[in-house]
Structure formats: C-alpha cells, structure tokens
C-alpha cells in the first residue's frame, strides 16, 4: 500500500470499469473454452474406456501426471511451441480438466444399478438408447459434480495465465496489481475471480437439479 492512499480506491474501479469488464470477459471465455473442449475429450475417452475397460488405468495415470505438473511450469513449457498466447493457456487448462472429468464420467456410469440396465435391455433398448436415455441421466449428478470441480479449478488456474500474456482477471492481480503495489487492482481481481468461481459452482448445481427432477422428487418422498 502506498502511503496516504486509501486501501481501496473506488474512483479507480469506476474509471476502469470497461477494463475490468474486459478482463472478466476474457476470464469467462477462457474458462468456457477449456471446459467445453476438456469435456468433449473426456467424454470421448470415457466412451473408449467403456468399451475397453483395460484402458482406464493408463488413461487416468497419464492424465494424473499432467494434473500433477504445476500450472506455471506447464504454461511455461508450452511457450516455446505455441508462444505467449491464449492457445498455450488453453492446452494446459484443458489438460488439467481431463483427470477430473474422465474419472467422474466413468464413475457415474459404473454407478448405474445393474437391474436398471437389465430392465432397459428387457424393454428392448439398443446399447446407444440405453446409454443416452438410461445410463447418462442416472450418472448425471456425478458427472455434474466433476464439472463443478473442473470449472472451479479452471477459474483459479486462468488467473495464472496472465504470466504468459493471456489476460483474464490475473492481469488485474499481477500486472496492474502486485507488480505496481496497487492493492485496489489486486483485490478487484481476487474478489471477482472468487465470485466467478462461486457463481459458476451454484449455476452448475442449479442446472443439475433442473436436469434431474426425479432425484429431488425422490428426496422429498
């Protein structure tokens, strides 16, 4: 904090609302992109594991190693290949979602009671009808639980991407905040990223409740 300066300078926030809004927008965009691509890849790999269960160990093992590499290191290792860019940021962000999403999709599908599957078979469902109409809806709460963890984690990791010039709320925390001893900017970035994480979490929870009305009906019964 600079001497004689109030802890939070509201006038700076008001004067810079457009920049703050742009950083927030970048943050949301990078998060959505990473989660969408990560989910698509994870879903495909989970389907592969479903037909070849032996692949679960190697796939989870590999994505687990990716997950254990610190974000700063992974972002930095990508810079020689894909530069200081959103692309480098996204490759790392997507990698981090895989282990969480694959594990939850697979666990969710494995949790479908065998008698339910048998009933579906008995009713003449084809394997793909069974998957889309019976198994995935039942697995949905576990899948959404994975999406919530992955989304909140990604929102946190996106703050770091400012180190490789990808913008986002980390720009307010590091570039205009910590590096300039300007606390108003630092705290604006921190508060918005935490608020974004909580909002995204609650939104996904609401979505899950909406998509699985039977779960609530059963809980109330």
């Amino acid at each position: 904090m600079n001497e004689g300066q109030p802890f939070i300078r509201w006038d700076w926030i008001i004067d810079n609302l457009d920049q703050i809004g742009r950083r927030l927008g970048e943050h949301v965009y990078m998060t959505l992109l990473a989660i969408s691509i990560g989910f698509a890849i994870s879903f495909a790999l989970a389907m592969l594991i479903r037909s070849r269960p032996g692949l679960y160990g190697p796939i989870i093992g590999f994505s687990g190693i990716l997950y254990a590499i610190p974000s700063v290191a992974l972002f930095a290792l990508l810079v020689p290949f894909t530069g200081l860019s959103v692309l480098s940021a996204e490759i790392a962000l997507v990698s981090y979602t895989l282990v969480i999403l694959i594990r939850n999709i697979v666990t969710g599908l494995e949790g479908v009671p065998p008698d339910v599957i048998e009933a579906a078979v008995g009713m003449g469902y084809t394997p793909s009808q069974r998957l889309w109409r019976v198994e995935l809806p039942i697995a949905l709460p576990v899948i959404v639980a994975g999406l919530r963890i992955a989304t909140v984690t990604t929102i946190g990791l996106v703050t770091i991407t400012t180190l490789i010039g990808a913008g986002g709320l980390g720009y307010l925390i590091v570039n205009t905040g910590i590096r300039r001893f300007f606390d108003t900017s630092t705290y604006t970035g921190v508060v918005l990223s935490v608020a974004l994480a909580i909002a995204a979490d609650l939104l996904l929870l609401a979505l899950q409740r909406r998509l699985t009305p039977w779960a609530r009906a059963r809980a109330e019964a």
Partner: protein, 244 residues
Amino acid sequence: MDGIGEVIAWFTAPEQWSGNNAIPLRLWEHVSLSAASLAAGVAVALPLGLYIGHTGKGARTVIAVANIGRAVPSLGWLGIVYPISVALLARGGLGFWPTFVALVALSVPPIVTNTYAGLREVDPDLREAGRGMGMRESELLRRVEIPIALPVILAGVRASAVTVVATATLSSLVGGGTLGAYVVQGLFINDLPRVVGGAIMVAALALLTEWGFGALQRASVSKGLRERASAQPPAEALRSAAGA
C-alpha cells in the same frame, strides 16, 4: 529457441551454479519455503481435523473450510496476503512471508477434510470395542482411529504438499526467489531457455513430491488392514469437496 541444446547450455552455464541466482540457492528457497509452509499447515489442520473427526462436532466448519479452499485460487491467496504483508512489514513484507501465509492457507483445507473423512469412516463398532476395552478417548484416537485413518490423512497431506510445491513458484512474483524465479524472469526478458529450464525443475520437484508422498501413503497402511485398504480418498471426502 533452437531447442533442447539451448536448454542444456543454460543448465550447464557457470552462472547457474554460483552467485545470487544459482540453481542450488533457488532450489533451497523453494524446498525450505515449501517445507516450512507444509509443516505449519499440518500443525494447524491436523489437530482441527482430528478434533472434528473424533468428536463429530463442527462438521460445518469442515465444509466451510473446504468450500473456501475450493473457491480461492492459489494466486488469490497471494493477492490477498501480499498487500497486507507489505503494509505491515514494509520491505520485510516482500518475499518469504506473504507466500508462506498464502501457502499455509492453501495447505489447510485438504488436510482438514481428509482427516475428518478418514476418522468418520472408522467403523463405529471399533470405537465401541475400544471403549469397551477401557481405552480413554486419547488412546482411542491414537491407537485405533489414527492408524486406520492414516492413509486417508496422508492422502490429504500429499495433496497439500503437491499444491504447496507447485504454488511456491509464485513466490517469485513477490520477490521470494524459488525455482519460479527463472520462469518469471525468463518470461519478462524473453529468455526461453531460462523459462524452460525453470519449468522443468519445478515440474520435476512437484512430481517427486507426488511420488514421495504417494510411497509414504502406501507404506502407512496398518499391517492388519493392508489387504482391504485402498489408497483412494474416500467417497465422502470427494463429496464434501464437491460441496454436495
């Protein structure tokens, strides 16, 4: 950057091995900061988790701690702590202290949730049997509950250790050195071999931490339990971490 040759040249250059930006110094900064933070985190989180897990009182505290831990990112903690540490300590507020406090805050939630979940999963019959054998509460905790819950507790310590080692990297943003300094300096002056060299060391240290604590966790399974134990965190911990 022309590739691996330049990175090797960076590693073998004499300035990487002596002076105030040398690898041994940066490694020491990284390891000592991480070890101190993890030790402090365990000292805070373990008694809290054991108390709540043993008594069953304060489960809401666990959920609150887990949710805060989930929502506040690593850089967020540093951003919260750094201005306060500079305001309180002036120049002394740079470097070690802000990152130390941020790392302790980061390391607490996984240890609290796992300790709590590990103790809660102890079969209530075993507790009753212990009491029936005349064990005091502290004995019950020490001789029954902790040995059974140890792999789960250590899974929490392992998660915290990996996060701490990874996040110690950010200390370089506030003048704290560590191996992250090479990444941050390199990105700042566009010296890619330095960026990559630093990143390789950070990644290696994090993976070593993960494997080291993993081995410790597997070795911690009590002999009597070895056959049926699993090193996976219990479902309860995952659910509470998901806030569900």
